[in-house]
């Protein structure tokens, strides 16, 4: 048991190094789409989407992508850091960062680590502190949840703002197109004595 755990954990750690954590993925990104997107950096060995059981429902998806080797994983990381990288939509770029052990769904147990638990007696001098610790932990998780909510709000705001900008820009372009199409632009040019056909 103990003997087999060591190499197994080492192999797992190696795997972690090959793996890239991808975030800001659209829910419509499927495994094949993601694989296709990242094959240009090397060969993708496996893809695992991380399920979101706790966060708000409209969180972007995240996934673990295992590459062939560490070099390929690093190239994914560096390219994605340099350029905004779009998968299955724009303009929100996906992000990548090195994977961590805890991100994996079933990491093997780290050898040599043992967990013990004990019920703390109410008369224990530490009891009060531990209760405080509990409250702190609760507060922290509430803070994190709040953060997440805020973050999503901001994302929504930005998306909305961009959409409006895009829409108005698009409208302008369409208007220009249409005035060219129905000859209004040319007529106006003649009236004002301007040359609009210079290209």
């Amino acid at each position: 048991m103990g003997t087999s755990a060591q190499p197994e954990y080492a192999a797992f750690e190696e795997k972690v190094k090959h793996t890239v954590y991808m975030d800001n993925l659209s829910p419509r990104v499927s495994e094949s789409v993601l694989r296709n997107a990242l094959e240009q950096f090397g060969s993708v060995k496996s893809i695992q989407f991380i399920p979101n059981y706790l966060g708000p429902r409209n969180m972007p998806r995240c996934a673990l992508v295992e590459m062939e080797n560490t070099k390929q994983a690093n190239s994914v990381l560096s390219i994605l850091a340099q350029f905004p990288f779009m998968i299955n939509g724009m303009p929100r770029p996906v992000t990548a960062r090195p994977a961590e052990v805890e991100m994996f769904s079933d990491p093997p147990k780290k050898p040599g680590r043992n967990i013990t638990v004990r019920w703390l007696d109410t008369k224990d001098p530490d009891f009060a502190v531990v209760m405080q610790l509990k409250r702190l932990a609760q507060r922290h998780s509430a803070e994190a949840a709040f953060m997440l909510e805020k973050q999503l709000e901001e994302e929504e705001k930005l998306a909305l703002q961009q959409q409006n900008t895009l829409k108005s820009n698009y409208k302008k372009y369409e208007m220009i197109d249409s005035v060219f199409a129905d000859g209004a632009a040319r007529r106006l040019a003649r009236i004002y004595n301007m040359n609009v056909l210079d290209d």
Binding site: N24, N36, E100, L152
Partner: protein
């Protein structure tokens, strides 16, 4: 198995393992932890192989005939037959799966395999149940086509027998009795179409290529429950147990082989004095295959033997009403054997034991007995005179005698039937066949010290058969007037019948099957979606979110922690960390068996302090899992009408759906905005986490200071 998982709680409590096992049995289902514990203890105790023996063979198949199919096998002391329901152990599951064996084979290269047609627990298909009413203990048989219907699994994954009865009103189904229903672990009446995800009330003729008749209840389950028989081939028997012998020249020697396994090794149990006869019918499909004929012999007073089960009657011509049987014996030995047992479809088992409808038989038999006996004597006479067949006559004489003696005993000794159930008998009985072909069967039972005569019947097939319905319950119902039909195979090569089996067997087959075996292949044969289980568990209030764990904890460790803290088993899964989860504390969803347990855990955690080894108290609360929506919103991808078509195509073909933005586009500008936002939130998270870490450290420091 999970070599890497630590069983820190298992080793220290060697003795508790047993306790735990019992408790788990009480539960009726077996938790993961228990498996681990049991497994561990087993490995330590005995890592050698588990007892295994093939039973009856079927055909061969596959390339080069490399695959041998079987009909039965004995594993770890439990005999399994085709179409038995079994528990299948899954490592990650709190409760084992239940399935029906629909194929058993061995491939020299790949080992022993079974094909299992699944049952679904209602919780597994909760989403499709709608407002359908579900009975307690109800299961749904998989049907249709597609994933989840049936799988091939290593035989070693079988964890034990499961008593699943079908209560479908389908005319093809043999309706179970009340007692049987009470004993059943589960029942089913409907199927779940895995393709269309629908509950079906009707059963098709075939499910997963298996005739539905095999899926319904078995006849012997009905009336034999208790009267299981062990039949051994003469060859085997003579080899294995020379204790009993009859003359070899007696072709028709007949011997009853009673099921010692069931009744603690003693045939007497069935032939107790109050039991003048017990109907034993042999429906051996293979007998007919092999052109062996079966002869049905009747006891004298069988005037009212009516096989309680119609199907049995229909299916097998050899099962006759008493009149026919008497005819059989009158007309000659061979009469019965002329009836080939051609119906093979029905029974996977070779033996049917029918217990006549007791109530009606009761009165009828009692009333008619005197006449019957005389009848028989009358019918006996001509034969003796004609000398047609000594053997026959001998047997009839014998039977008459037996019956008379049995009656005498019954009259004189009033012994409750019940003690026999538990009585342990020495299991040896002698059959001596003298020249007059009168068999004296002497049976000793050391439990009650009652001598009784065993009616003789032998089914000497090449195979040994054991009924797996090992419950003693129905035995209570045995009434004095139960009959025995003797079935003998006169074509046997060695007609000398010899047997007595002394096999130690527990009465409850399931108990044996419970223990987890070593070296089990852990292939995942069916992974129910975790989301569904989370959802179901939450709806039932069994879901608890544990917080403040060591982030490096594994799911198995969480289960161990829960075990240590609450002595409750559970199924846990760590929440995977994302960019937005705190590195200070890990979280895990834990599924408990019942709502009560879940509430108890939450309450205990609220009031008390379960301190983990990293000095942090465990937090628990009930929280709904957020499950993926069908059409989740995602901000930041803009859709322009013109682009829509193109995007749809890209999606479909999964080509060129990704690109790096070039700096001279609007897209790039907008992407940079996003980048900015992402950076900002990353930074905020970092700050938050740092600050939280600081607060935590401060508090922890106080804790440590107090300690020292």
């Amino acid at each position: 198995m999970s070599d890497t998982k630590s069983f820190f709680c298992a080793r220290a409590r060697g003795e508790e393992v047993k306790q735990e096992r019992l408790r788990a049995l009480d539960y009726g289902c077996f938790n993961t932890l228990f498996w681990k514990v049991a497994y561990e203890s087993m490995v330590e105790a005995d890592s050698e192989g588990v007892e295994f023996e093939w039973g009856k063979k079927r055909g061969r198949g596959g390339a080069n005939k490399a695959v041998q199919f079987y009909e039965s096998f004995t594993y770890d002391g439990v005999e399994y037959h085709l179409y038995d329901s079994v528990y299948m152990y899954e490592e990650d599951e709190t409760e084992p799966y239940i399935g029906k064996l629909i194929k058993i084979w061995e491939n020299s290269a790949r080992g022993k395999k079974v094909k299992v047609l699944w049952f679904f627990r209602p919780c597994e298909i909760a989403n499709f149940l709608g407002d359908q009413e579900v009975l307690e203990n109800e299961l749904f048989l998989a049907s249709g086509e597609g994933a989840g219907l049936a799988n091939t699994n290593p035989l070693e994954a079988i964890a034990g027998k499961c008593n699943v009865l079908c209560i479908s009103k389908d005319s093809r189904n043999v309706q179970p009795s009340d007692e049987e229903l009470q004993k059943a672990d589960y029942i089913f009446r409907r199927t779940f179409d895995v393709k269309h995800c629908k509950i079906m009330d009707k059963m098709d003729d075939q499910i997963a290529g298996t005739d539905v008749k095999s899926i319904f209840n078995r006849t012997n389950l009905q009336d034999a429950g208790s009267l299981a028989i062990v039949v051994r081939s003469l060859q085997n028997l003579s080899k294995e147990n020379p204790a009993l012998r009859t003359n070899e020249n007696c072709n028709d020697a007949t011997v009853v082989l009673l099921d010692q396994n069931l009744y603690n090794e003693n045939p007497v149990v069935r032939t107790n004095e109050s039991c003048i006869g017990t109907t034993v019918d042999l429906l051996d499909q293979n007998l007919s295959k092999e052109n062996q004929s079966v002869k049905t012999n009747e006891n004298c007073n069988e005037a009212s033997v009516v096989p309680s089960d119609q199907i049995l009657c229909k299916e097998n011509p050899a099962v006759k009403t008493n009149r026919n049987c008497i005819d059989t014996s009158e007309n000659g030995v061979v009469a019965g054997s002329n009836i080939p047992l051609t119906k093979q479809k029905y029974s996977p088992r070779e033996i049917r034991v029918s217990r006549p409808g007791i109530d009606s038989v009761d009165t009828a038999a009692t009333n008619q007995r005197p006449e019957n006996v005389s009848d028989h004597r009358a019918s006996l006479q001509p034969k003796v005179e004609s000398g047609n067949s000594k053997v026959k006559v001998g047997r009839l004489v014998r039977q008459v005698e037996i019956e008379e003696k049995a009656k005498c005993i019954k009259d004189s000794v009033d012994v409750d039937v019940r003690p026999y159930k538990k009585a342990k008998h020495d299991g040896s009985f002698k059959v001596s066949d003298d020249k007059n072909n009168i068999l004296n069967l002497r049976l000793n039972s050391d439990g009650n010290d009652t001598k009784s005569l065993a009616p003789a019947a032998s089914v000497a097939d090449k195979y040994r058969l054991k009924s797996s319905e090992t419950d003693t319950g129905p035995f209570k119902k045995l009434k004095p007037e139960d009959k025995t039909t003797m079935v003998s195979n006169r074509m046997l090569p060695n007609a000398s019948a010899t047997h007595s089996q002394c096999q130690d067997h527990k009465i409850d087959g399931q108990e044996l099957g419970v223990t987890r075996r070593p070296n089990v292949d852990k292939s995942r044969w069916f992974t129910g979606p975790w989301e569904d289980r989370l959802q179901t568990a939450h709806e039932q209030g069994r879901l608890v979110l544990l917080q403040n764990l060591d982030p490096a904890c594994t799911s198995a460790e969480v289960e161990d922690i829960v075990w240590q803290g609450f002595e409750e088993s559970c199924k846990a899964k760590m929440i995977q960390r994302t960019a937005f989860s705190s590195p200070h504390s890990g979280q895990a969803f834990v599924l408990f068996k019942t709502r009560q347990v879940a509430e108890m855990v939450v309450k205990k955690l609220e009031e008390g302090c379960l301190l983990l080894s990293n000095g942090r108290p465990l937090l628990g609360r009930i929280r709904a899992p957020s499950l993926p929506e069908k059409n989740p919103k995602f901000f930041g991808h803009l859709v322009i009408d013109r682009l829509r078509y193109q995007m749809a195509r890209e999606n479909k073909d999964a080509v060129s759906t990704s690109h790096c933005s070039q700096p001279n586009t609007i897209e790039y500008d907008m992407a940079i905005d996003w980048r900015l936002l992402q950076e900002r939130s990353d930074l905020t998270w970092k700050n938050l986490i740092e600050q939280q870490g600081f607060e935590l450290k401060k508090l922890m420091a106080r804790l440590k200071a107090k300690k020292t």
